[in-house]
Amino acid sequence: MADTPDATGIRPGIRRLFELAIRRRDRTERNVTEEVALHIELRAGQLRRQGMAPDDALREARRRFGSLEPGRSSIHHDAYRRDRAMRLREWLHSLMQDLRYALRGLRREPMFAGFAIVTLALGIGANAAMYGIVDRLLLRGPEHVREPGRVVRIVTTVARPGIGDVTFGSAGYVLYDNLRTAARAFDGLAAYLVDDVTLGSGRGARTVRGGAATADFFPLLGVRPERGRFFTPDEDVPSRPSHVVVLGEALWRAQFAADPGIVGREVDIRNERYTVVGVAPRGFTGVDLGRVDLWVPMSTYSQAVTSNWPRAWNSQWLNVVGRLKPGVSLDAASEDATRTHRVTYDGPPKPMAEARMTAVPVRFTGRGVESNEVAVSRWLLGVTVVVLLIACSNVANLLLARAIRRRAEVGVRLALGAGRARLARLFLTESLVLAFLGGLASLAVAGIISVLVRQSLLTNVEWTSSPVSGRVLGLSLIVATAAGLLIGLAPAVHAARSSLRNAMQRGSTPARRLGLDTWPMVLQAGLTATLLIGAGLFTQSLRRAEAAPLGIEADRVIVADVEWSSVGDASADARATERARRVAVWQRAAERVRDLPGVTHAALAVGSPFGNSFGQPVFVTGWDSLPKLPGGGPYIAAVSPEYFATVGTRLRRGRVFQSGEGDGTEPLAIVNETMARTLWPGREAIGECLRIGAEAAPCARIVGIVEDARRYELREDPSMQYYIPIGQERDFGGTVLVARSGPDATGATVPAIARAIEDTDASVTRAVAQPMRASIDPLLRPWRLGATIFGLGGVLALVVAALGLYSVMSYTVAQRTHEVGVRLALGATPGDIVGLIMRKSLTMALLGMAGGILVALYAGRFVRGLLFDTSPRDPAVLATTAIVLVLAAVAATLRPAMRARRVDPMRALKTD
């Protein structure tokens, strides 16, 4: 055994292959000990020859060798150091060698390498992209917030009789004020809200996202301004609010060209003058994730709510957040807030007096649950992990097939004395190289997927960081390494287990016996089936949600609202005059809009679907109090005669209002079917009386019955609704114009409507029109998201799995050429052969489908609540998935099967 490479002239790489399994340090020590022993023995021999007694000779030899121990340890040390340096060199050398070998192997099979790298890049890239998103939404919290883990949202839960507990995030200023003064679990509390506001004045005005916050909001979060300052408590005193504004960085850049002298300039917000005092840092969105363009003091915003807003309990328009004292748990904070609220509460007895306060993480919505965005990103992450698993199992399968194909080569290496561990390492290096290349390519994939997801699915989030951040890069590397180890495992184990004899044998050992089993393919098919079933369920839900009868034809309805020039403080008389004038303007506007090309009807309404909803006490003869329906109500709307024809709510019986019926004429009403059925069961409602507002109010005669229309949601419990002629409404207001577009209306119709209204009268400073669909689309988001997520994941998985199946079947056919030859020689028809190959492929697909169905049935209970009128066991979805899977399996197997059919029996038999 040579102990140094130089001694024998054998290259380190070769020598290493022959290395004995002893630890190097031991060997070095043994060498030195042996050398010294020999020296002493030879010296003693010489002394004996000079006539010394054997014992004396040995003693003298030892003495003359000198102080043995220090010498020896220093020898050991030097030798060890030398050895270690050499080992590192050798290790690097062997690593380079392995790398070179792996790269050479991959270059030799570009198809295989390309497929593996692309597969891994898709899997890793999808995960990296989703990590980038989850990182923002879940892990790091809102930007610029110091220690976001301690910032909580305070939500209120009250018991509503007959309905149960209702949790909401909105609160009155008084609640914030009370908690701030008396709660002990918090370092501070603040209130904020975000709303659409008008920036600028006149036609050049635009709608932006405006935040209103109490002055303590910014120090509580720990955010520092980009420029200038945030507002001070002095500027946010309820009795004397200051008109100051902090601009968002993006708005400052876009609207004010990043003017360095912005502080001190004045801007119009909601038709009032505000002085800019600062600019918020880039990407600051408060505690929510959506863009905020400007921040004004809560007290300036709240003036418009009610006159007694600082102490009013009946209005709830803001959100309360707090920073927990260090070490205080969410439960303790909730308890403290509840206790504080009950002690300080001074409003009407129920239900607020017994309200419960809960502190939840800020990423939760006001309903005390995780926001849609967070839930979506969780699902997305789950789906991408599944895709990664499929990708890994696929590449592992390919590598395994390749390892088996290289059995002969492995045999040669074993015969030359290569260690099994060394061989395993070689395969592992190969898989790591693949994974690393895949990881590099994944960065591009991650960039594309992040941008897509950000723009299509998570549009409500203000993104400032680049899609591929350092953290995403780091994760890609980690995932790539993990994937490399995972996919290298099977071939490495296979290599380590292969015996020389086995490996050197040529011929067609069945693939199954060698570990290239069908289970990875079945697993892939199962995972793919699960994703496809999910995609099918959500697509089905989306279709049904889109087609859900709403009681209106939302697709053709456009809603328009206006802003009026300010009249300032006016007497009650002047206000009444102005109101009458505005009604007239509205009516003129409706006429103008009706005449527009592309518009068939136009009407006015106070209260409209997916807009405003109002309630007033109603008294009906024969009822002490009206029955409570789960959908609430009764709800009232004041509408012009053409309203029902405009929005597409069908008249069931009776008639609609006529022109001329309105202010000052006989009170009339139209009720919906639920109301007619509930209050006058089995009788005709037309001709009955509604007394609206008070028991002594005049009788509003019912003249018609219309179908139920939705108010806010796609799925609603039935509620009582009734309509009165516009002009007869009392104590509620807020007119909108609804227009019905023709079937061939173009996109220009919507702005044309806004312009027509603006041109009606000089007192209209601005009109905003938008399709009603725009209010409904957000409601479809959950299903659209689910369908998109699972659809994308499912298609990705299907493609990857089908390619994997193709490669495995190709390999199987190549392996079984001999067997096929024998079968053909024994009289099997080519059709039999195709059937044989297809059967194997379809078995795998169907086994996977069965597994997928089992998973889907099990997971069904978790998604049931997320679906719209669709059972998790929807037979159409399951059947479609099975068909898609089978078709994909057939497509992937077609070419290999055809190749098997063309096997020439004579040649197949001769080669063996």
Binding site: T4, A7, E35, L38, H39, G66, L68, G71, S74, D78
Partner: protein, 110 residues
């Protein structure tokens, strides 16, 4: 021991070892014995320091080592001078000659 023995001048051990190995490859004991014999037992090397010196020189690449059988069939590590070792020996010999000349001049023998 009849003859008086002298310790080596510091720093000359490497030179002596290299010089010895320039004749032929030998194991540690043979190196020590060769130096004793050639110097008529005047020079005695500190045997405990011979092996560390050999390891050091191996590390510097002046000598290489390999295990071989001795003529008496014992396993021994044989050291062989390398090209780098010969170069080093040349340098040390020159330096040593200069030193000897200088000492001689001081002692008045040259």
């Amino acid at each position: 021991m009849a003859t008086s023995r002298r310790d080596l001048l510091p720093g000359t051990l490497d030179m002596l070892v290299l010089k010895t190995l320039s004749v032929q490859s030998m194991h540690g004991y043979a190196i020590a014995r060769h130096i004793e014999r050639v110097s008529n037992d005047v020079l005695s090397i500190e045997e405990g320091s011979l092996y560390p010196a050999l390891q050091r020189m191996r590390q510097k690449g002046w000598v290489k080592a390999e295990w071989r059988q001795t003529p008496n069939n014992q396993r021994a590590r044989y050291y062989t001078i390398t090209a780098a070792g010969r170069k080093q020996l040349g340098a040390e010999e020159t330096g040593f000659a200069d030193l000897l000349g200088a000492i001689g001049r001081v002692m008045g023998t040259a």
